[in-house]
Amino acid sequence: MRILGISGSLRRDSHNTKLLRAAAELVPDGVELELWDRLRQVPPYDQDEDLEPAPPAVAALRGALAGADAVLFATPEYNTSVPGQLKNAIDWASRPPRTNPLRNTPTAVIGASTGAFGAVWSQQELRKVLRSLGARVLDEGIAVRHADRQFDVEGRLTDEVLLEELRAVVGALVGSVRERGLVAA
């Protein structure tokens, strides 16, 4: 089983990217979580450019999503919402609506912010967007508050409670894939 991890932050030392790396350490046997690292290369959505062949980074994104059994998004919160570059990439991925690679795909949203709420509004908005384009979005998520204090110098998530919450989200995502019945184990 393959889970694709997409961080909504482009920053080198992104808390959300670290959070996805922490999630990758918590997947059960037989499951791999691979981070998609080409978000920066996705051009601005332009319907005039939404043709075949798609721009290379868009084709890569669509291919990576199509090859994944599940997707785990980790998003920061910019102005109470989803970072523009992440939303832009999702807009590319959502076309064409009836056959986009996120349709029916088990998807979970988690988030981290340096504030007191852990990107909860952004997570909520991202779930809304993903549901509207047909993804099978889990209600489960985690909000990593004060993210600048939650990772050690090597970028590892240290809080035991958060680690358990993250393990539960990953477990629910794996369960959703198995429930969908397209993967044997």
């Binding site: 609506p97 349709r103 549901r131 509207s132 047909g134 969908r180």
Partner: protein, 181 residues
């Protein structure tokens, strides 16, 4: 009771199937101050009336056959947020009771949408049978109002004043032109 009255109290014996070209199964729901309408096309419906007068009306539609006037909205309706066509690909209906009185008809039945069965009551009109070019035909029109949330179709979004954009009550209408097999 005279012969005419007896005739109009019973549905005509036989197996009757919906003529796809002339039948419709539609829904209408209030949305943002207007009415949003859609249909299922194609769909199948069959009325079976036994010699003893026992009648069963049944129908089935694929979720994928939902038709609204926008491709993006159709895709949204098929998603897990609405009909979840991947998990629950069919919508079905089957009567538990049909009562005819003259040209009016009362129907009780079980409607399954989104995998959830609900008892519904429909009312309508029946005409016929008539014979047209070698075919016996009956017209049956039915309608019912159902609460979509009873089927787990819970999507909504608040308008600026906080009221929900989409109503819960959905008007279902069926116009069936049934041909005797």
């Amino acid at each position: 009771m005279n012969t005419l009255a007896q005739t109009t109290q019973a549905l005509p014996t036989g197996t009757w199937e919906a003529d796809a070209a002339h039948s419709r199964a539609e829904f209408a729901v209030e949305y943002m101050g207007g009415t949003f309408r859609g249909a299922f096309s194609p769909f199948e419906a069959r009325l079976a009336v036994a010699e003893d007068g026992t009648a069963t009306l049944s129908g089935v539609a694929r979720a994928e056959s939902v038709r609204v006037q926008n491709e993006d909205l159709e895709a949204h309706l098929l998603s897990p947020e609405f009909f979840d066509a991947e998990r629950t690909p069919e919508l079905t209906f089957r009567t538990t009771d049909i009562r005819r009185s003259g040209e009016t008809v009362d129907v009780d039945g079980e409607l399954v949408v989104h995998g959830r069965p609900q008892q519904v009551h429909l009312t309508g009109a029946v005409r016929g049978p008539i014979e047209a070019y070698g075919q016996e035909r009956i017209s049956l029109t039915l309608e019912a109002t159902v609460d979509r949330t009873a089927f787990g179709l819970n999507w909504n979004a608040p308008l600026g004043d906080g009221t929900p954009a989409l109503a819960n009550d959905v008007l279902l209408t069926a116009e069936l032109y049934l041909v005797k097999r």
